[in-house]
Assembly symmetry: C2
């Protein structure tokens, strides 16, 4: 089922793409996709995401091979080499070596602590999240300025940076007329966890370096990603992607499918009116490829809202219930006291046309995708640890003291 | 000339105010002022600002006593005790002890790396600035949540968070009507150095904790401070405040006065149309006192623009030239290639009514203040190191490598 279509210019030298966080959920799928499209790929990852699982006693639904085995398997299947640099991008010496030896044309930066609940466990995780994400990104910016001036930074942000304003959400900027004068300004941000805030900090830092140093950057304000299979990860079980269903790292739709598969009631937080943008992981890899193929100009801080459809939590629960019935699953829903601090009923209308204009052809959430994701969850349901399903982190109860006991 | 007027409620117990950064320029003046007004004051400071001077070979124009001597002198003159906690607020154990032993009713947080040029020297100073400021403030927020829930945070931000938008600058929030809907949102920020960005990050983090935890906070977006004398620091030479005139820590008007005093041409960066808000240090202490006396409500993130007048750099050069003539100084002006990345001609109209509504009676920049500041500079002119005057840090030339040689 692989179609190694060369979108990467058949005559010129293949573009070199560094994928920071390439062992993670989005990063692994993207690395394989770009390698398959004949980009020259290097993965940079500290593997700290695997450490979080060990420390919190969590597990991906799917068994995931080590990054070394993953890359060896890819090579033996396709003949394609993916470089591997294991280290922490907060360590600038390490990052320098990776930049100097690989000389990337583009850096796709997925390499952050990306769970809102994780950032709200305790003070030390809040501090870790902001330090890891903000300093890591600063280092990437300095590495680009110093060693690969022309390199295009494709940075993963989140739709959560915007919060839920009572006006339409634009893509990064908004034109404001005020007291008879007009300017186009960065869209106001209202993030609602230390994780989401770290992304706002990153966006502000990156925008400044575009202006001051002429960095070219694309900030992908990504929605919630769902699904697990991509063309490349399907090729072999050792290439299988991770699928998180726990209360800390699992995201809404993926969690609901696993809950439905094991007969756990769907965990709707509060009123369930929370509306967000969503996208299929097959669109994540497509969007990143489009951003790389159409780089920002020097000095341009370009912002794309990277999602394909909006759903409320109640919408998702309804869709999963219906799809479950077709598979003979009896899907119940429960209302869980909301562990987060967020509006549960609100206006939400976010623009997302720029990636479509570049050629994105969305995989909309269809019955068939839901069926296949549910089937996938059913296939792995014996390995589900039900203890991990309920939310265990509270926005209000977060304290200064370390929460070292198992969650 | 001291008038120890008790604004602090004569019947109730005196309020306890922790002053983080109390050994610095604004913090020292504020600590004495509040102590004089019968607040119970504790200074928290790592003294890192004095270390920067040693490392960069810089000096305050005025000789400054050690913090220990300062506090002893204050006690011997007034009988008033100022507590001293020496340590780094990024060290949460240290901060915890300070909070537990002092139990503040208000925390005034001046304790950050506050120079834009310093943050643009090299990668490690950029990273230090964001880490020191962002993590320090996170720790303060956690300490308040955990140990002094009712405590009012008064946080020093900067007018530089707003940048120079082409519309009026409001105090923290702006009401936007967009596609037929209306919301009041955080005012868009466009900071232009890693230092200014750190303040934007702080503001976003604090706003979130007000919402999520019910923290009460006042963000003082302060303009550029000028002057050196306050009622209390004038009482004895050992209480004298610092006055920075170098290219890294010196700020516009203070620098121009020292330049005029030593016959150095006034260093106007670029076209000199850069317009900012300014205030007298006597108003800094007044504003902070007003904020403490009128605390924000639980959950409220209150933003005040703390300045009294707007000037362009050319305006200031003109004022100092005129004032200098009266003192018989021949003041020249030179145009220096702008080391910063900033607009040199722009619209600027920033609101600053909220502190006036609370009772601020501004010391506007008058001939007499300029005369006295110039006289002060003349008095100390023999100790000026002219090598420190020209700007030495370039926004564009900042690199990844450590700049360990003397600037
Ligand atoms: N999954 C989603 O639904 C979603 C939605 C919006 C945005 N995003 C963003 O996309 C990116 C990837 O998300 P994901 O779901 O693949 O996360 P993930 O946790 O699965 O992957 C992140 C990877 O980055 C690595 N990493 C973290 N810090 C690092 C550091 N300092 N140095 C080197 N490597 C480091 C981790 O080890 C991990 O492999 C993140 O930035 C995330 O915020 C994800
Ligand atoms: N001076 C101005 O014109 C001006 C203008 C706008 C805003 N501000 C803000 O006001 C505040 C005070 O400014 P200033 O001019 O007095 O600066 P300053 O450098 O003179 O004082 C800051 C003090 O904080 C201390 N400090 C820094 N990091 C610390 C840490 N991690 N732990 C403990 N102590 C720490 C330093 O040792 C220093 O004594 C700053 O936050 C600054 O950004 C100042």
């Amino acid at each position: 089922s692989v179609s190694p279509h060369i979108s990467n210019g058949s005559t010129s030298k293949p573009k070199k793409v560094m994928i920071i966080g390439g062992d993670g959920y989005c990063g692994w799928a993207t690395a394989l996709h770009l390698s398959n499209k004949n980009y020259e790929v290097a993965i940079v990852d500290s593997l700290v995401r695997r450490l979080f699982d060990h420390q919190l006693g969590l597990n991906s639904l799917t068994p995931i091979a080590s990054i070394h085995d993953r890359i060896r398997r890819w090579k033996s299947l396709t003949g394609k080499t993916i470089q591997l640099h294991i280290g922490d991008i907060c360590d600038f010496e390490f990052l320098t070596e990776a930049f100097k030896s690989f000389e990337p044309d583009a850096v796709v930066h997925f390499g952050e602590q990306r769970s809102a609940p994780y950032s709200m466990i305790d003070r030390s995780r809040a501090v870790f999240t902001q330090h890891n994400n903000v300093i890591g990104t600063l280092n990437v910016l300095f590495a680009i300025k110093e060693f690969s001036n022309e390199c295009h930074l494709v940075k993963l942000g989140t739709m959560g940076e915007y919060g839920t304003p009572n006006i339409d959400i634009e893509e990064g900027y908004i034109t404001i007329t005020h007291n008879g004068r007009t300017d186009t300004l960065p869209y106001p941000k209202q993030a609602s966890s230390f994780y989401h805030l770290s992304k706002v900090h990153d966006s502000n830092n990156i925008a400044f370096t575009c202006k001051a140093w002429g960095i070219r950057a694309t900030d992908l304000n990504q929605g919630v990603v769902y699904g697990v299979r991509t063309d490349e990860t399907e090729m072999h079980e050792e290439l299988c992607n991770r699928l998180d269903y726990d209360g800390v790292f699992g995201t809404a739709l993926n969690r609901f499918c696993v809950q439905a598969a094991v007969g756990h009631p769907l965990t709707v937080y509060g009123k369930g009116g929370q509306t967000r943008g969503y996208l299929d992981i097959r669109d994540t890899v497509q969007c990143v490829e489009l951003a790389i193929a159409n780089p920002a100009n020097p000095g341009e801080f370009r912002v794309f809202n990277q999602f394909t459809e909006q759903f409320s939590v109640n919408d998702l629960a309804g869709l999963v219930t219906t799809a479950g019935k077709k598979l003979g699953l009896d899907v119940q829903t429960m209302s869980v006291p909301n562990p987060r601090v967020e509006a549960e009923e609100h206006y939400y209308n976010a623009k997302h046309t720029k990636l479509v204009e570049l050629g994105l052809r969305p995989h909309l959430l269809s019955d068939s995708l839901l069926d296949s994701l549910l089937n996938f969850a059913v296939q792995f349901r014996d390995s589900v640890d039900k203890q991990q399903i309920m939310p265990s982190v509270s926005w209000k109860k977060i304290g200064a003291k370390p929460r070292t006991v198992a969650i």
